[in-house]
Point group: D2
Chain length 311, copies 4
Amino acid sequence: MPSQLIDRQTNGVFIISATPFTETGAVDDASTDRLVDFYLEHGVTGMTILGIMGEANKLTAEEATGFAARVLKRVGGRIPVVVGVSAAGLDNLASLAHFAMDAGAAGVMVAPSPGPAVEDRVRGYFHQVCAALGPDVPVCLQDFPQTTGVPISAATILTLTRDCPQIVMLKHEDCPGLAKISAVRAGSGTADTPRLSILCGNGGLYLPQELARGADGAMTGFAFPEMLVEVVRAHQAGDPDRAEDVFDAYLPILRYEQQPGYGLAVRKAVLHHRGAIACPRTRAPGPKLSPTDEAELLRLIARTEKKVKEL
Amino acid sequence: MPSQLIDRQTNGVFIISATPFTETGAVDDASTDRLVDFYLEHGVTGMTILGIMGEANKLTAEEATGFAARVLKRVGGRIPVVVGVSAAGLDNLASLAHFAMDAGAAGVMVAPSPGPAVEDRVRGYFHQVCAALGPDVPVCLQDFPQTTGVPISAATILTLTRDCPQIVMLKHEDCPGLAKISAVRAGSGTADTPRLSILCGNGGLYLPQELARGADGAMTGFAFPEMLVEVVRAHQAGDPDRAEDVFDAYLPILRYEQQPGYGLAVRKAVLHHRGAIACPRTRAPGPKLSPTDEAELLRLIARTEKKVKEL
Amino acid sequence: MPSQLIDRQTNGVFIISATPFTETGAVDDASTDRLVDFYLEHGVTGMTILGIMGEANKLTAEEATGFAARVLKRVGGRIPVVVGVSAAGLDNLASLAHFAMDAGAAGVMVAPSPGPAVEDRVRGYFHQVCAALGPDVPVCLQDFPQTTGVPISAATILTLTRDCPQIVMLKHEDCPGLAKISAVRAGSGTADTPRLSILCGNGGLYLPQELARGADGAMTGFAFPEMLVEVVRAHQAGDPDRAEDVFDAYLPILRYEQQPGYGLAVRKAVLHHRGAIACPRTRAPGPKLSPTDEAELLRLIARTEKKVKEL
Amino acid sequence: MPSQLIDRQTNGVFIISATPFTETGAVDDASTDRLVDFYLEHGVTGMTILGIMGEANKLTAEEATGFAARVLKRVGGRIPVVVGVSAAGLDNLASLAHFAMDAGAAGVMVAPSPGPAVEDRVRGYFHQVCAALGPDVPVCLQDFPQTTGVPISAATILTLTRDCPQIVMLKHEDCPGLAKISAVRAGSGTADTPRLSILCGNGGLYLPQELARGADGAMTGFAFPEMLVEVVRAHQAGDPDRAEDVFDAYLPILRYEQQPGYGLAVRKAVLHHRGAIACPRTRAPGPKLSPTDEAELLRLIARTEKKVKEL
């Protein structure tokens, strides 16, 4: 299938996909297909797999490549798919990246390696990554210091996108991070620095503000992707009030999903509730909802659906 | 003035107070009085001063005691006031605590000291704290691992409130932390463990859920205290839908205030906008709003006010 | 080959093995054999493979099992071999563990999973691990908070070894950690808690003191294993002065190896210098010696050899 | 008394002073004088007070200024004294700095403020610090990421010393940090960057190597300052073997003192044992030696003294 690469103009909603498991813990192929269909039916313009939300670090290498191949086949080139390839060693990182690109991925996502948060180390790491990938693999730089423990300044991001032409996209999830979006947007697309695509994570918690500051869309796993899609559409259509009204209707459940470490279980429960996957379980050791959590979530879902109807 | 101590039944809304400064950076006495009045007019049932939000660690000892004395005098015993006394050394902690209690405080708030997050160390520390304070000073245990770096299990909290009778209140701001509220509520008020008052922080981001799980109210600094008051009132009146409707109307600006490290500048800007303090500045090095931030905030305030009218 | 399992009485020196790579970055089979021989010739009484020092997280699953199988075959049952199996997911952890035990390993080493450092979570994790392994796999609990970010109290270690009979050994590398050794030694081998074998890591930096406090030996990767062996032997023979004299002779280079994050490159350089492996490289991204580092190291090696001769 | 300011050529041994307390926990004036004399008698060429080792954060403001004034008076201008002034707020920082300089200090020591480890934030902070201090106060930049949580690259240090002429000295305690000394030494004293004085901390654990790489001396609190003095003297006299022989004789106790969080109790115990202070206690919550610890330490002291005689 012809691959559609991410580039510096890429925008829209790249949904971050969960990895569905069966009751016995195996990767669930049927649910994988159904989940891809669910995302496509709700209008996403891209997809990201094997991220933190995808429990990538709990898969075997075979499961990871198998899952990537199945998703890419089901998508069939209709939308670009980014594959998370962060790994402790560069060899494993490059190997998965090359597999994914050969299978039709649109690019790969890489976070800084753990270690001291000094700029020269981080810059050096991304130069090593790009050399290991080769120049033809587009890279989305994942800036998620709450999880990686490695904050990066806007200046370093701009230097990297200038020095490594294949770093074409920023997955922004620093928090607080609104000023960083303004800085990266102002500092790229200039005489000396090429434009950088910016897609925002953090569950979309600040999406309307991020779009207003120049972000190109969202890359996150909110289990109501139609909200992300409509917010970005309304914003692009010049209707920020509509964008924010839609956003606000979903915010109570969005902020509930956004609980660190625990949100994945919520997302899978919502996807399960909406029929997108057959089983909500995460791999051990992973979060799990108690009956109290489930009742709380059902109440939030019901309230959300009611509000959305009133929009 | 007769002091009204916090106890194991305390509930309601303890607003966490900012510390207002003048344009030249001095503690602003006139704004202190005005801010106390503002909080009282909006219906809070308690107040907490010299917390992290109060920039306590940037005050001199004289400024801290001066501010505490002025607040306590202005409050005049109408509501209980808790004073944050966390300090690197126990001598300084106890000295501020005794000053505050003598001046009419209702109790003191203490977070675990920095260090390895092992339960015996944390338990030992609170025993030392209680010994240094003497048995007559009620303690609110501040559980805020995102900032202290020291997570505490529900079991340790229960052990501490059992072993140290003066630890009567939990300021809960662990995140994710809903299951912890359920566990502490279920495990206290039992045959062997006395009831523990639980007030919730984190800007109130999960307040309706927290109340439903047995929290007694809020202890946080949201700059629209009337929301916290009405949510707790509606919940106590058995109207959780009303509680959640009110909460949802404010959630967009609440989640904006909740940005770690930066939220204080937002809160002070809102308090300034609402006329509660004369100057929004924080002490250096501290966060500051850019013109873009300010425009963004004004838009959120306007949207919030509109939604609130429609309630 | 008949496997020799670790148990609660195990003592001596379990050397932590490096994983040798060729100049092109492949696992070096010939050097693997040579390294096993080197360790055996220097008198170690056990071996630990696929730990942090073994760059386990940079191997593919096939490389990991291949390396384990080769080491176990070369060792041929002469000494017990512990295999590090820590992994983000329990399935991968158990799968490697069962492979290793089937191939003749003496036990597995497991560190706490990343996450909040609260005792109930850590205890729960080890219960999950033991259930996933089955009761016949002896476990060495790795307590290395500087790297895992999860400190554990002596009380939790004792509870775990009591509740999970297969947790028979502690790899101790907390720092400061001498008081913890005293506490674990005093609290195990009692009426209600079975004895726990304690082997010490941290490069051996406090080995004489650790032995004096009741540790059973060392589990670390110091590139002069003969020192560890002689120190433990002299201690067991009742000659602590000899133990400390030998230790002190090596201490300058030991403390040089002990630099966090960088020590692995030093160890591999020393092993290469001593002829134990053909190539000192680590997998990218990994530490590398500069010419200045190498000259510095050669000077330390020369001084060490001179001092050792004078013993 | 005429003050002797630190500058870009400053070298030698700046001992970091403990703050002695009486049995009842007050600052011990008599021991303060005795300790100053002890340090001077052992040949130090400078002193640093109110650092982390000085328990500065457990003193009241009055105690801190009182201690600084007493030390400066006792020193009487014979050696330069640097005063640690790190504080959460710039006002408190500047206020203590100006007090100290007026009382005859040679400069102040400042660590980066807590927060995200991004270079522009750290650079901005030091610009704010220098503005608050005024250009006449020489600054020693304390680079101690293990404690501050804020690593700084060599490039940022060089930029800062170039842009802020009053930053004349680096207290180096990054670890691993040898390559950083080489980088800072090579990058300062060049056409565009003025020379930077480098004094090394970390208890002196790598002092011979640090001197060989161009460090100007030590700034640390090892309780046998005569070792630091003799090592630096021998190095400056062109006798690195002598430097290293002396160093090695003390290394067993040095590495014992260097246990993070606990070393302060060891240092005070040694200073007490050597008659330099009347009471070894630290302020609560602080480390304390058990009888086992004390016996262990006495054995190490005895072995050290024996080895030193054999030099």
